[in-house]
């Protein structure tokens, strides 16, 4: 049942936006009783958050190409693309809203995802591509932070040039390169 309800929620969010994803419409589309939805998710907001986070996780795999720059470029290009979609924006909006009807697992949701992404950095350290004291969480925050901020605050565009610029800055820094 969970999969059917979450899939119906994502489908309704995509086709009709946030306003169209009512519990009644989701229950109808998934072929379940409205009361079953409320029993499991308590509120419409929790249902939408669960649907969006589940979808995001499957849409945002952590690559393992053997090169740290390539891994980071792929991961953050996908994240930027997802955050640029209506669903990505909706998820991020829900994440920063103060709302008593939402479980307090929004902060942990993002912290968990960013922590998981740190494995790309740790592999880079193991391969000697990165300094031994490179901080995985910090590097992931430095690249992802501006992407979140552009969606939430400045409405500036998210494009591949931005992602590449942020990844290269985090890898190489802004100091002059030796020999250049």
């Amino acid at each position: 049942m969970r999969q059917a309800v979450l899939a119906a929620t994502v489908e309704l969010l995509s086709s009709q936006g946030l306003a169209g994803a009512t519990v009644a419409a989701v229950a109808r589309a998934a072929g379940v009783h409205e009361t079953s939805v409320y029993r499991r998710w308590k509120t419409r907001e929790n249902l939408i958050l669960d649907a969006l986070t589940t979808e995001l996780d499957s849409a945002l795999p952590i690559p393992d190409t053997g090169r740290v720059r390539e891994d980071l470029l792929r991961f953050f290009t996908t994240l930027a693309r997802l955050l640029g979609t209506a669903q990505g924006r909706a998820l991020l909006r829900l994440s920063v809203e103060r709302d008593d009807t939402l479980d307090d697992r929004r902060g942990p949701y993002w912290s968990d995802r960013l922590e998981r992404a740190g494995v790309m950095v740790r592999r880079g350290v193991e391969r000697g591509e990165l300094a031994g004291d490179a901080d995985p969480g910090l590097l992931i925050e430095a690249v992802s932070g501006p992407l979140f901020v552009r969606v939430l605050l400045s409405a500036a565009p998210l494009d591949e040039a931005l992602v590449a610029g942020l990844v290269d800055l985090a890898l190489d820094g802004a100091r002059p390169r030796p020999g250049s």
Copy 2:
């Protein structure tokens, strides 16, 4: 009149929180008519936003010590401290809320501030401390983004170690240092 009203607003926000900063209370504290406040700012939200942004600007000077790392450390340590206060959080909250009663100058507000801060990077380039192609806006975004995100999304702490870590990452990158 503008200065008196903005000062009264900040004072009420500090002493009584967002709920205490009503237009009536502000007008009383500033010794002006309520209608004058509405004539100038239209809504309570606009008044609060104006007060907070004006205060933040005077509390966040752009240093010029002659060394780029020191400039960035001072600037972002101050920003992190301000974002950690109740007023800083209130300003950031107001900045991401969708609210039809607010002028649409919140995005531009932050973009303008970050653009101004880019002068620290440009001075570093002129002094040869940074590479000639260092991107001021990108570097400022890479350091400030995680600070905003921690306030808005993850509720993780903002401390001096975080600021120093982000500044050093943006300056030196995560690759192994030559000779180390």
